[in-house]
């Protein structure tokens, strides 16, 4: 067996047998994906519910349209009480031809929505009652807009973050532990090149990243979460590999300065956590203030995120990779060069 192959196998075994690392590589990011995925599941899909007392053609038309969710009450007082309590934004009361809407003043946006919708249906019914053809026609069609369902931005974000965390920690902790336990010096005494040691460790990290990708996407695609991949999802693979290398290099830099595993772990957290929050891992950056968006552009994770989002769910083609790939490669080169300058074989 070649040194490269056995070293890769040895490091893979070490990785698989380390429960703590496994937890932080797979379960920890997955917890975020699941928790946020469940909490935010109904955001955006949320329809306004109103109370309805009575029935008639307009109520049927409203129900069929699905524009509002209707909650039926037999008793006007009970329905109005719901509005007073702030549970529902409005109550629609039908007495024959007469439609009354009682709405809560506190929630003006929702009330206005309800009033507008009900009004539209009443007008339409009135027009139909006259038997005249409409003078103006109006058609509405849904467009997939830039604002995505939460799971659609959560998955690429948490995947990028998970890959970044495991690459940074993997390389920083391995480096520090090997230096402290003198494994590095021992390897140096063997006729192998530093390149084969380094590349076997990177191979393990990239393999881990691909497995992370498969698991996270697989789970997010379950019906409860409802991730829908675009046709160009496979473009995420080169992005995963480039991202792993970039964050591996960052880990080497962190590991060069840290004396103990604990210090390396703390330093890696200090580097990764703010980057994760500012790069759109947990919420889309477009919703952040403009200055924050500018700041976030200095983080490679932001660009990896953007690329992932574009190819995994926005359905953009290979051209969407150009910018993130260029930035990740550039980052890897600069940080990798710095790391090689401060690299030490021994304490």
């Amino acid at each position: 067996m070649t040194a490269f192959k056995t070293l890769s196998v040895a490091m893979l075994k070490g990785f698989i047998r380390d429960k703590v690392t496994l937890f932080f590589t797979f379960l920890f990011p997955l917890m975020f994906l699941i928790i946020f995925g469940l909490i935010l599941r109904d955001v955006g899909a949320d329809k306004t519910r109103i109370a309805v007392v009575g029935d008639g053609p307009i109520v049927s038309a409203l129900r069929d349209s699905g524009a509002l969710e209707l909650e039926s009450y037999n008793d006007v007082d009970a329905a109005v009480q719901k509005v007073k309590d702030g549970d529902l934004p409005a109550a629609l009361i039908i007495r024959g031809q007469q439609l009354d809407v009682r709405f809560a003043q506190s929630d003006q946006v929702k009330s206005a929505t309800v009033l507008g919708i009900v009004n539209g249906f009443v007008d339409k019914a009135n027009l139909a009652a006259t038997g005249q053809p409409p003078k103006f026609t109006f058609a509405a069609e849904k467009v997939e807009d830039a604002s995505l369902k939460p799971i659609q931005f959560l998955t690429p974000g948490i995947l990028s973050w998970g890959v970044a965390v495991s690459a940074v920690f993997g390389s920083a902790l391995t480096l520090v532990s090997w230096r402290r336990k003198q494994v590095l010096r021992r390897i140096r005494l063997a006729p192998v090149s530093a390149a084969s040691v380094l590349s076997s460790r990177i191979l393990v990290s990239t393999g881990v990243a691909l497995v992370q990708g498969a698991i996270f996407i697989g789970i997010a695609s379950l019906p409860v979460f409802g991730l829908r991949l675009s046709g160009s999802w496979w473009l995420a693979i080169p992005l995963l590999l480039l991202g792993t290398i970039a964050f591996f290099a960052l880990g080497m830099l962190v590991g060069a300065f840290a004396k103990t595993e604990e210090a390396a772990s703390a330093a890696a957290n200090i580097v990764v956590l703010p980057m994760a929050f500012l790069s759109g891992t947990f919420f889309p950056v477009d919703q952040a203030p403009a200055w924050l968006q500018t700041v976030s552009k200095i983080f490679p994770l932001r660009h990896m995120n953007d690329g992932m989002l574009d190819v995994l769910v926005r359905g953009k083609g290979i051209e969407a990779l150009a910018m993130p790939a260029a930035i990740l490669v550039g980052f890897s080169l600069v940080v990798g060069f710095l790391a090689s300058r401060v690299f030490k074989w021994e304490e």
Binding site: M1, T2, A10, G14, R17, K181, V183, R188, A190
Partner: protein, 303 residues
């Protein structure tokens, strides 16, 4: 012994860390097949000396030859010929004993079968599938030595392989070290156990404060001391006066339990004692490297 046949040649090596002279003008040669010990207390400069020869550190001045070549800067041609156990046991994370050996072996392009053979040699065959961190201190040391040997090197450097081991584990390890020498390897090893160096080594260099104070076979070092041999008998077997009158006795004295005779010619004394049937509770204690160290440095040896 000509230098061409020597495995190691060190000539006036020096290495300082700031003001501290860790190695202060050390010279010696090690013959092929020799079991060479470097003995000294902590901080004597043993590790630094060893690592200069291994090519892990550059000496400030002086010359080092390993099989006729310079180990510094990293000499890839030499690497397959040397096996090293560093002072810290260096293992890969979470691998079993067998996997450690296979992995280290693969760094040298060695087949997997050799790994099993090595486990046998160091008596760890039954621990093959045990993870390294589950092994006892002595087992870890033996595994570490096996890792140093896995590529069948010509010379092995062992840095305090018996440190922090209990007496039984130390003795087990001595057997391993002897077995290695029987395979024709040159062994250079450091220790701070005087008794051990005396038993194992062909030659011992006694080191203190970065300097070699003496270098000889242990027996020669001890003999050179001209220290008396102490023969101890049970009290009452012989009177002090009778003991003092025996041929070869320098001095005799008695305490509550025993009679101690000092002599520089133990042979006639022992035969005289045997003639008188006065051998009850007989013990003979000759000078040891401890006495040599005391004599060389003027202070008690403390590891």
């Amino acid at each position: 012994m000509t230098e061409e046949r020597s495995a190691v040649v060190v000539r006036d090596d020096r290495k300082s860390y700031g003001e501290l002279k860790a190695v202060d003008g050390v010279s010696f040669t090690v013959a092929e097949g020799e079991f060479f010990g470097i003995l000294g207390p902590n901080g004597a400069g043993k590790t630094t000396t060893l690592e200069i020869i291994e090519g892990l550190r550059e000496p400030d001045s002086g010359e080092v030859r390993l099989f006729g070549e310079s180990p510094w800067p990293r000499n890839v041609k030499l690497l397959p010929r040397i096996g090293v156990q560093l002072q810290a046991t260096s293992f890969f994370d979470k691998l079993t004993a067998k996997e450690q050996l296979q992995t280290f072996g693969s760094l040298y392009g060695v087949s997997r079968a050799t790994a099993a053979d090595m486990l046998e040699l160091v008596g760890l065959a039954d621990k093959a599938n045990e993870q390294e961190n589950k092994l006892s201190g002595g087992q870890r040391q033996r595994l570490s030595i096996a890792c140093a040997l896995v590529h069948d090197p010509d010379i092995v450097f062992l840095d305090e392989p018996t440190a922090a081991l209990d007496p039984q584990a130390r003795r087990n390890l001595w057997d391993v070290l002897r077995a290695i020498q029987e395979r024709g390897k040159t062994i250079v090893y450091t220790t701070h156990y005087l008794d051990e160096a005396e038993i194992l080594c062909d030659r011992v260099a006694i080191m203190d404060n970065g300097k070699i104070l003496a270098l000889d076979p242990p027996a020669v070092l001890v003999r050179g001391l001209d220290a008396p041999t102490h023969v101890t008998l049970q009290k009452g077997v012989l009177s002090v006066v009778d003991a003092s009158s025996l041929d070869g006795v320098d001095e005799a004295h008695e305490n509550e339990v025993s009679l101690t005779i000092s002599t520089r010619r133990p042979a006639p004394v022992l035969s005289a004692l045997a003639d008188r049937g006065a051998l009850d509770g007989l013990q003979v204690r000759t000078a040891t490297l401890e006495d040599v160290f005391l004599n060389l440095t003027g202070r008690e040896y403390r590891a």
